[in-house]
Amino acid sequence: MTAIPNTVDEAEALLRSGDYLPNRSLATALYLSLSLGRPLFLEGEAGVGKTEIAKVLSETLGRRLLRLQCYEGLDVTTAVYEWNYPRQMVEIRMSEAAGDRDRGALEADLFSDNFLIKRPLLQALEPDEAGAPVLLIDELDRTDEPFEAFLLEVLSDFQVTIPELGTITAETPPLVIITSNRTREIHDALKRRCFYHWVDYPSAERELEILKVKAPGTAEALSEEVVGFVHKLRDMDLFKLPGVAETIDWAHALTQLDCLSLDPEMVNDTLGTLLKYQDDIQKIEGSEASRLLNEVKSQIAAAGAA
């Protein structure tokens, strides 16, 4: 188990040890979040590696990862806790049949830990042998505002009140990572309690580095072409731009096909790994793809000659 980093450099090294290549800005925000015990708020386009940060963090620190996937209509029973009604009913029937307990004792038993189903937010408040867990609240923008308000309360005090049991407070607060795809603006009150970081698409050099780590089998020349092509696509007006995840997938796919250098036909055949919408694919397929590819190749040749 690794210790919490003590400097920004250590935070950067921590993520690198988990095969995640952060920029300085992310390392700073992560270090601050870990050392001052406030949530880290990550915003950015889909596929730039927001969720991955939490996974890498839990792996490298050896902490448990608790993931709360947000969606519209998410409520307390799926996010915090729920009483196990079927089991409670069975318990009542059994107790009736046996006649072993009086009313008060039965009631106390029914609302005890045994009949409580703990959901991620409640689990995150419980003490853990390995240290406070990593709590990933994924795609917060997909929930509705009432839940956001509730979350605000939980994240500022790290406690939850269950009427039948009382208030449960975390001894050591979990390491909270919140992500948002920015389909709507999260309220300022929540963001104020967090350290903010905008996760951008990586620069070409960094993306090449990422490919070396994540898709080590890819030929170097091919990696350069892949990154160059993806960067060209990101400058275009598409419905969904390819993220880092797509770049890695594409490099894997091309390597599987024993491709050492891109050609227009190969690009057309594998475009589905990069672009996920039919409209986008139709727009790029064919002449546009070969035009982009020619541009990329001539740029690489020019850079090589210089």
């Binding site: 700073t28 925000a29 270090y31 601050l32 870990l34 001052l36 708020f41 915003e43 963001k191 350290f195």
Partner: protein
Amino acid sequence: MAKTPIPDVPPEAAGPGGLLSENIMHFGRVLRRAGLPIGPGQVLAALNAVEAVGLGSRVDFYWTLYSVFVNRRDQRDLFDQAFHIFWRNPDILERMMQIMLPDAGGAQTRCRRQADQSVQLPGAPVRALAVCLSARASIASGCRRRSG
């Protein structure tokens, strides 16, 4: 959780009056007047954060303040410009602010007179910020209170 020791602050920054913390506070106020929703809570958080990270490098200092003061994507440019002007020479930005965001009682004439001076202010970022601020100032229509 292990707390990092308070870093060695350069003597001119620490000073007897804690010049650095004062400057961070002023920077927060400047950003607030430029339209970022920054309250005393965030200024305190910024002080804590700078203390935790230390003053080893300007890059880290930048990203430390960024992670506290910025919380929307569209605030990044404003922060960037304000940072580079303020932490080179806080006075310039302060003067800019007075020109572009006059207080409610501020005479229009003074505003106009100072606007002429703004032409002499150097640097492209200053002008970019001025454009940004004048747009905001027209929205605010002079009903802001002056802080300072």
